[in-house]
Each structure stands twice: as C-alpha cells, then as structure tokens.
C-alpha cells in the first residue's frame, strides 16, 4: 500500500521534475558538453577537441587572475557585508526618530541596478576630479589614483559592493534581532550584564540562523559578481579586477570562444561546489535553538 502511494505522489512531482531537468540539469549538461568543442558560439558547426579546452584553462594566466579576484570578492564581500549589516541592524533596531527613513535609505542602493551604481561610484573614485580626490585636495593632500593597479581596483569594487548592498544583510539581521525573545535579554540585564556583554554573549549567538542564511546568500551572490565590476572598473587594468563571470562572458561573446568559455564555466562550477558545500555543512552543524 505504501509503495503505491509513493508512486502516486511521484506522478504529482513529475511536472516539477521535468522543469528542474529542463531548466537546471540540461543547461549544465549542455555547458559541460560544449567544453569539449571548439566553437565560436553561433556557427551550426562544432569541432570536437576532447579535453583541449580544459587543459588550456589551467595554463591561462587570466583564468588564475580572475579566480583569485573571484575568491577575494566572494569572501571579502561576504565578510564586510556581514560586519556592516550586523552593525547597522543593531543601530536601526534602536528606537529613535526617523528610524524608518534611515532603514529605507540604507536599503535603497540595493534596489538600483549594479551597472548604474557602478557608473555613479566611478565619479567618486576617478583620479581627475573624482569626489574623494577633491576632498583630499581640499584638505591639502595629494590626490590618490585609486584604480591604478588591479588589486586597488579589486578592493574598490569589493568595498563599493559591500557598502551599497549591505542593506539586504541588515534586513536579515534585523529580522533575526526582532525574533530574539525579550525575556532572555531582560534576565541577562537582571543578572547585571552590560550592553556590550549582552550583545556578545546573548544576541550574537542567537543570531546564528540569520548569520548562516546571510553568509550562504552573500557567498553565492558574490561568486557571481558582474555588473558593478563591469561599469566601475571594466575588469581592468589589464584584467586585474576581473571576475570569472566577467571572464567567461568575455571569452564567449567577445573572443567568440564559446567552447573555451564553457570549459572555464565548468571549472568554476566545481570550484563553487568545492568551496560552498563544506561551508554550508559546517554552518548547518552550528544550529542554535531557543
């Protein structure tokens, strides 16, 4: 009887299974297949070259540079956004006049396209007439060429993305803060806990579910960073701030090397799995209940 029921439920799941296969597994499988071909991305002819593209990936200095940058973006943005988001959540969780307006203002940049924000922020960082350098000159200091090197541009992109999008992380923590039972905090205060100790030993540990969600979401989003780099630094100078998603796009649509781009995408896919699965497992093992 149990077996028959299972089969019936499987039939109900069929549409969803078909969708997952069609929209998830098929594109991934096709991308993997493309990696074995020499193909310009639009011709109806493809030439099978075996592992040639995959071998080339590991000798490509631009791939390693983009991988390094992608890891910097992924972990850097996740860390900075979480620190900022947590601090802001504590701040806007207090009661004061204009709290709703401040919350909205912090969240606002997250609702605007990354391309637009990148363009706007370009005029903050530019060497000649940029807002930051005008301030430095006004203070009697020398202007700084913020985006002179690849690493400099990478850090600029990292900080810009983190500052602009920390509003979404703030909201996650804010929801977590508002779910913490007040009686726990009150009893801590009765026991003489200072404000700092209360946050460190009670509030932050109880925010762990929010933290897990925030870390996982930010990590995945930051691995795919594209728009702000594209409009703020263009991935330059000389690919110094490019990410793997930008590099894949460049190989596929710019250099017309779709097969090779697919090979990079597959390597990238496995890099994400290798990194995100253990992190996810470790974070999931740290569940708190209250």
């Amino acid at each position: 009887m149990q077996k028959k029921l299972d089969r019936k439920y499987f039939l109900f799941m069929l549409p969803a299974i078909i969708m997952v296969v069609a929209l998830r597994f098929f594109p991934i499988g096709n991308a993997f297949r493309m990696g074995f071909f020499n193909w310009n991305g639009y011709s109806q002819d493809m030439e099978f070259i075996g592992l040639g593209n995959f071998k080339e990936v590991f000798g490509d200095s631009y791939f390693w540079l983009a991988l390094r940058n992608t890891l910097i973006y992924a972990f850097g943005i996740t860390i900075v956004k979480n620190i900022l988001g947590l601090a802001l959540a504590f701040f806007v969780n207090n009661k004061f006049h204009g709290r709703a307006a401040i919350r909205a203002t912090i969240y606002l940049p997250a609702m605007i396209s990354g391309f637009i924000m990148g363009q706007i922020m370009y005029y903050f960082y530019q060497y000649n007439g940029g807002i930051f350098n005008e301030i430095l000159i006004g203070l009697g200091l020398e202007p700084v060429y913020w985006m002179e090197t690849g690493l400099g541009s990478t850090i600029i992109v990292l900080l810009t993305t983190s500052f602009l999008h920390c509003g979404s992380t703030m909201l996650l923590y804010l929801a977590g803060l508002q779910n913490i039972p007040q009686e726990l905090l009150e009893s801590a205060r009765l026991d003489g806990a200072t404000n700092w100790k209360e946050k460190l030993h009670i509030t932050i540990p109880l925010l762990q579910p929010s933290m897990i969600t925030s870390v996982v979401l930010n990590l995945i989003a930051s691995f795919k960073i594209y728009d702000i780099i594209s409009s703020l630094s263009g991935g330059g100078p000389d690919g110094g701030s490019t990410s793997l998603t930008l590099l894949i796009s460049k190989y596929y649509f710019g250099y017309n090397r779709a097969g090779y781009a697919a090979a990079i995408a597959m390597v990238f896919f496995f890099v994400i799995i290798i990194i995100s699965v253990p992190i996810n497992k470790w974070l999931s093992s740290k569940k708190v209940e209250y």
Partner: protein, 452 residues
C-alpha cells in the same frame, strides 16, 4: 480511480507548462505573408514612392521583429521611423532593443538558429551574419551604393546581404581651441611623428594632449597606417589575411604608443577612464585629441560644450610619403533573416529605410554618413558635415579611404582581443610589456582563426 485522476492531473500540468512556454511566433503576423508584393510602393534605391506613398494596409496582420542596438536619440529616431512605417503599411513592428548586449544576444540567437526578421549587422554582415542573411543583391538600392560602401559590404562573389543606409566613419578628433592655445597647427600634421611633436607642444602649454582611454579602436582602427596602407613602414596585409602573420611588425604601432605613454601625453589615469569621462574632459578643453573616434563623437562633444570647436581628422601616416587614412565600415545596416517567415514584408521595410527622407531622419540622430547616392545628394546631417569638413580642412593631404581595419584583415572575435591588448599596453608599456602584448595578440589571432 485515484490513480487515473493523478495521471490525468499530471498530464494536464505538463501540457499547461508546455503551453505557457509559447511558440516561436507570437504576433498576429506569425507565418503570414504580406498581401502581395509591396515593392512598388517604395521605389528601391531610396527614391520617393512611385504610387504617391498610399500603401494603405497592405501589410496588415504582419508583425515584423526588428533587432537593433540603438540607444538614446538614435533609438528614439528609429522608433519614430517604425511608427511611421506602421501607419503607412498597417504592419506591426516589434523592436528588440538589445543595446549594449546586442552582440551577445544575437550570438545566442544565431546559435539557436532563431533570428529576428530584420536585424542590425553592427559591422559584421559578411564575417558573422552572412550564413543567416538573405541575399539582397537584387534589391534596387544595391545599385545606388557608393563605392565606399561596396568595399565594405560586398562579398567576394559580388553578393550583398545588407541594406546599409550609412557608413560608420572613423578617424581622429581634434579640439581646435586647445591646439590654438598651444600654438599647434593641427592641419599641418601628416605623420605620427609630427603628431607626437604636436603633443609635446600641447603638453608644454599645460594641456593633456590625448584624451583617449584604452579601447580596441586605438590598437585596431589605425593599425593600417603602420601595417597595410600604401607607403607605410610595413606591408603585411596578405600575411595577416592568410593567417600566417607572426605580429612582429605590430611593434611599430606599440612603440608609437610607448613613446606617447612614457612622454605623459595621455591623462595619468588613462587606463581607468571611462568613455563618458573621456568626452567630458575633451569637451571641457582639458585635451587636444582623441585617437580613433567616429563622426558621431563630434555631435557628442558639441552637446557637452556648444561653444567648443571640434573637428574630425584623418589618421596620420606612419612615415613621410605614406597615406593618411580615414576608415569606414558598416554604419546603420540591416539584414533579413534568410529563414524569416516575413521576407517580403521585411524587404518592404528595408526599402522604406532606404528612402532619403527616412534615412536622413536616422542619420540626424546617429551622426553617421550616408552611402546611397540619392541620399548623399541631399545629406546635410552632422556626420556628413564632419566628414565633408575634412576635405576642406585637409586640402592637399594624401588621404586614403579604407574599410575598417579589423573587418578587412582580422577574423571575427579579434576585436575583443584588440581591446584587451590595449588594456595590457596601458597597464605595462615597458619593452617586456610590449612583448607580452605581441604574444597575447598572436595567441588570440591563432585561436580565433581556428574557431572561425
């Protein structure tokens, strides 16, 4: 019974999902042909309509999908042209405006063999889109093309796959006010050495000589003045085309940029300037030249500074006795998908675009240069004016007019390599940096030749 019901529900849900996916044709015109041929309504060759333009609703029920890469004023002008066409013929035009994603979207659509009825070829009617385009050689406007256009769009077998109403023309842009303030006569410049000497004077006068940012145009569009045009320092055109070139002669061009970069002729932050910023600095009178720009940039500069004084100029020659050059390629150019179900209606649309009054509306916005003789006779749009002024300003100069260099000599996909090479050059212009650029270009050239 329950089992049967479950099966039925599943089938209904799957069918529902498939139905939601929709088909390829979504307009009322799907699969329909226009009611008879409309070619008599718009006389090909860009001449006014023979039947007085009363086409009525001859294309009623037809929906044409047209893919373009226009933005800003150009998009507005194109939308107005399409609306006028709809009113005149009763057809519906769906504009796919892919903007800066045009190339990537069209690559995907080619791969899926599912193109729009009409699409902009963006410089690649032969090298990229030929296999997907309808042969338009029998259209009468093809007999009205100027020679400069035929050199760009005619295949080796004489076929033409595009209705090109304008050329995209590329050269240098000069800020005359800055040159005057620095005591430089830009009309006396004939070689790149003289150009560098002018840069030195401009720098000494307190200006930045060159506003350009790293872009494929810098490493590609003027390459012919060193490598392939008459009387230049190298003559390797045939080698480049047959895929045997080792890129060693390209060092001449890199050395030119090395001199300009080490001498401080570019902005200190040149490697990270974006294009808008470049125009703003040029318009504000901070710089004297932009290397490799199209005629549309003149209009952009005047829109930023109406009191400025900007002209279009040819690329200098690599040595005395060489040819200065202006390069041109496909401007506003449209092809028809060879498997379109609306081929006849698409032909009517292209004939409509080729009429002088319609073309001129588009050119007013795109600032490109007309290339069909009937339109050229009456064209006074900004792009044509800017190019026409070159003849007046540079009288007595030996100027050659060529196809855009990479489209003539390099395989599809090389443009992006040229852009990356320019970024590499600006990031490291030491001797070893130049060597790395040559190696990078040689590898890219081999890769795209194989892929092509």
């Amino acid at each position: 019974m329950k089992k049967l019901l479950a099966c039925l529900l599943s089938v209904i849900m799957v069918l529902g999902l498939i139905a939601c996916g929709g088909g390829e044709n979504d307009g009322t015109g799907s699969g329909s042909e226009p009611a008879g041929s409309q070619e008599a309504d718009v006389q090909p060759g860009g001449k006014p309509t023979q039947s007085g333009g009363e086409a009525g609703n001859q294309l009623a029920g037809v929906t044409l999908e047209v893919a373009v890469n226009y933005t800003g004023d150009s998009l507005t002008a194109f939308q107005q042209i399409c609306s006028a066409f709809e009113s005149k013929y009763g057809a519906t035009i769906v504009i796919d405006n892919y903007g800066s994603d045009y190339s990537s979207t069209m690559i995907n659509r080619m791969a899926a063999n599912n193109l729009p009825d009409v699409f902009v070829t963006a410089g690649w009617s032969l090298r990229r889109y030929k296999d997907y385009s309808l042969d338009l050689s029998d259209q009468e406007y093809c007999s009205t093309y100027d020679e400069s256009a035929l050199g760009v769009i005619q295949d080796t077998d004489g076929k033409i796959y595009v209705c090109m109403v304008s050329n995209g023309v590329n050269g240098n842009v000069v800020n005359l006010n800055v040159c005057e303030a620095a005591g430089v006569d830009p009309f006396a410049i004939t070689t790149w050495d003289e150009f560098l000497a002018a840069c030195e004077k401009i720098k000494n006068a307190g200006f930045t000589p060159i506003a350009s940012n790293p872009d494929a145009g810098l490493t590609s569009n003027l390459a012919g003045t060193f490598l392939t045009y008459k009387g230049e320092v190298a003559d390797v055109g045939d080698k480049i085309k047959d895929g045997s070139w080792d890129w060693e002669e390209y060092m001449y061009l890199l050395k030119f940029y090395q001199t300009a970069l080490t001498s401080g002729y570019f902005f200190k932050d040149a490697r990270s300037i974006n294009t808008n910023d470049m125009y703003e600095r040029m318009a504000a009178g901070q710089a004297a030249f932009i290397i490799s720009e199209n005629t549309a940039s003149i209009a952009t500069l005047y829109s930023l500074n109406p009191k400025g004084n900007f002209i279009f100029a040819p690329f200098p020659a690599s040595k005395a006795g060489g040819e200065e050059a202006i390069v041109s390629g496909e401007g506003d150019a449209f092809s028809i998908w060879k498997d379109s179900k609306n081929i006849e209606a698409s032909k009517v649309f292209l004939n409509y675009l080729a009429t002088p009054e319609v073309t001129l509306k588009l050119l007013d916005a795109t600032s490109r240069v007309s290339c069909m003789k009937p339109t050229m006779e009456v064209d006074e749009t900004p792009g044509t004016k800017a190019l026409g002024a070159v003849e007046d300003n540079y009288k007595g100069h030996n100027i050659g007019y060529y196809n855009i260099w990479d489209r003539e000599y390099l395989p599809s996909g090389m443009w992006a390599y040229m852009g990356t090479a320019c970024n590499k050059l600006f990031a490291d212009y030491t001797d070893s940096g130049l060597r790395a650029v040559i190696d990078f270009l040689r590898d890219g050239y081999k890769n795209v030749y194989v892929a092509e």
